[in-house]
């Protein structure tokens, strides 16, 4: 079944919150998911996998000898992206998980700050992530890589946009996200029902 981008973003955000993620991180993960889907990459699959593995409380992002240990994309991915934006040098990253969502987080950040991100794996594979595009080899970024940013011409970035695409999620991933999202809903109570819009009136007036 086809899903709109807004449905994807809303569901992933709710699911991430349902899994216990902080609100703003959840928003960024949802945006990263949509960014990946618009690149025809498996953002929903990556998000559902990461959300299903998420454990609360999560550890904070740590750096040992200038090497960042990325244990959990969901809770630490935003912070790692932050640090790339702050630092003027490339960061060394040891990534314990699939890094697809990190690529999405970089893409969203690129849209906001007129920069492009460069992933360089120790194997030599390179990946360039800008606001609306991705270039390079996606394989080889699961373990160790260097991550840096460079400025991009703002006018050039604004001229770009995504092609319109159909998003057809795997029902298994979609249902899993729905399960987590449902943890954010409060069961209906008689009191709330009595106070809702339309309550207390005959609508045959």
């Amino acid at each position: 079944m086809k899903r709109s981008l807004n449905e994807v973003e809303t569901l992933v955000r709710k699911a991430a919150i349902g899994a216990g993620l902080e609100t703003e991180c959840a928003t960024e993960i949802a945006q990263a998911t949509c960014w990946l889907e618009q690149q025809k990459l498996s953002g929903i699959e990556a998000a559902s996998w990461a959300i299903s593995k998420f454990v609360v409380p999560s550890n904070e992002l740590t750096a040992i000898d200038n090497r960042y240990e990325l244990e959990c994309i969901l809770s630490q991915g935003s912070s790692l992206t932050d640090m790339v934006l702050v630092e003027d040098r490339a960061l060394s990253v040891d990534c314990a998980e699939q890094c697809d969502l990190l690529i999405g987080l970089a893409g969203v950040a690129a849209q906001n700050f007129d920069v492009e991100f460069k992933f360089v794996a120790f194997s030599g594979s390179k990946l360039k992530v800008s606001a609306y595009s991705i270039e390079g080899d996606l394989s080889g970024f699961q373990q160790q890589f260097e991550l840096s940013k460079s400025p991009l011409d703002a006018a050039l970035a604004q001229e770009q946009y995504f092609e319109k695409i159909d998003i057809v999620p795997n029902p298994k991933h979609w249902n899993l996200l729905n399960e987590f999202a449902s943890k954010t809903y409060v069961p209906e109570s008689e009191q709330s029902r009595l106070l809702g819009a339309g309550a207390g009136l005959s609508d045959n007036d």
Binding site: E24, Y185, N204
Partner: protein, 566 residues
Amino acid sequence: MSLEIHPEFEIPQADLRSPDKVMRLERMGSFFPTRLSFMRILLRRLSKENSTVETKIWEFDHQGYGHAVISISFGGYVYSLVAFTNHLDPTERTDRVIAQKWDACFVLYDGVPEKVEIERLQKNATKQEAGRFECRDLILSRANKSMRLFEHVVDRLAIGQQPDCDLICRIGYLMRTTAVYGNGKFGIADRNRITSRPGFSAPFQAEMLLVWLIRGFTHQLVEHVARSKGGEQFVPLDESFKRFLGIGNSTGLGMAPFLVSHPVLLNNWMMVRETALARARGVKKLSAVQISDIKRLSMRVTDHLKDWQVEDQRQMDRVKVLRREWASVSAFLSDVFLNSDYASEQLINASAQWSVECQELIVSLLTEINPELVDGLSECLDSFGEPRLNPTMKLSELRTILSENFKWGLEVDVSSEAANALFWYVSAEKLEPRLGNRYEEQGSELEQPFDIVKRCKALLLDLEKVSKHLSVAEFLIRFPKHRYITRRIQVSKNFPYSEIRDNLIGEICLPIDMLRCKLSFFGASKFDPKSDRWTRITLFQGAPLFSELDQALADDWWLPTLDKEA
């Protein structure tokens, strides 16, 4: 190509009112529609383009059950209202979001639907939230009849008489919508499919277009049923009645969270409104046309307030105060006063003696008489989304913004029960936003992040534990729970009207104020609160009919009244 700005084209304007004054719930809950409301923007655009409306399909039985396709050309595209009506047992008629059947269901379709598409829409639109939609389906809605007015109008027209003027005036619509869905809900088109199209850059234009088409549809439907019933005795509904009949709407808490979750958009709406006022206040001499307009519109306000009758005691008391005060305002508007220098500025200064609702009515009036100065601001209402958190900001700057822009919140004593009384949540039933009492209801652990004041205070405490020279990025590694409020505080730096400056979980928070604020931007009037958390309103009352878009008066329907003499 460079753009030169000539000093003679600069628009003089007074200072903007401060966010501390404007962004209070009491004031936001006193707003009236303006010429920058979304309905007005849409109708101006339709009128400017001389858009044409054409009924492509009209297949209804004598009781008015069937379907229609009504198309409109707009901005180089064609859009269609696809409408389905059916019999609804009175026991099933409810405006609640939990309803599963409605008198009528609607889709705004991108283009003109073929038969197979109409069949698809019939299967899905009549199920509303339980249906699935495609990207050519732009907006989804449903409506119930006002039984007392619809049947009355049918009965009267069928015997060759016009309906009762007082009843028309009191109710003001033949149908009321109970939901209008856009932006990707249930598979319909994401908003970005249409925002770059001519006429759809301002907020909620597609939604407004659908509702305006529904309103015209209800006029045609009531005449169809009356004609079937009355045969040769039938007379069409008087045009002045049609013009006065808008579309009703029941609006609940679903609207309120939007203002909190879209701070940049809220800022832009408010900034446009305040800039319009500042420009109006900057006018040194009112023109003869403006003086004539302000007097004419002031009399219209008097009539409008006379017609505004509601059962809600709080609102009715306010309307009564407003009626008294408007008599004073009208007395103020003498020729001598209006010909004096900076009469608009003087009127705003004088308005401090009257209620907040009266002050805001004057704001709308002054906006109304300055089309040349304010209409262009409609291009500034939209936003390009909410900015991502800026990790490079130093904590010293974050702290300065927090203490300056959130001073109102830092002064709240969050330790009291009263300051924490409410919690906002999403109900498992139809996933609608709700508001609960923290001390009486279950579920506060799942509350939405509307506890802005508490979050500001908690952030301040943790900011005191670290060096002010750290970056936001470094701080959030250690304190990730503050990411959400940190971004909001950063947003307020460049978007001063982005936050409602009241405690949204406090005992005295009235959600109805948030609803009225948002609905006034839509262009709604005749607010008819049914509790502190839902209201009925009327949309497009007084708006031009399908056949009137080419007329010069197509933009003169602010706070409409029914011409009872006509």
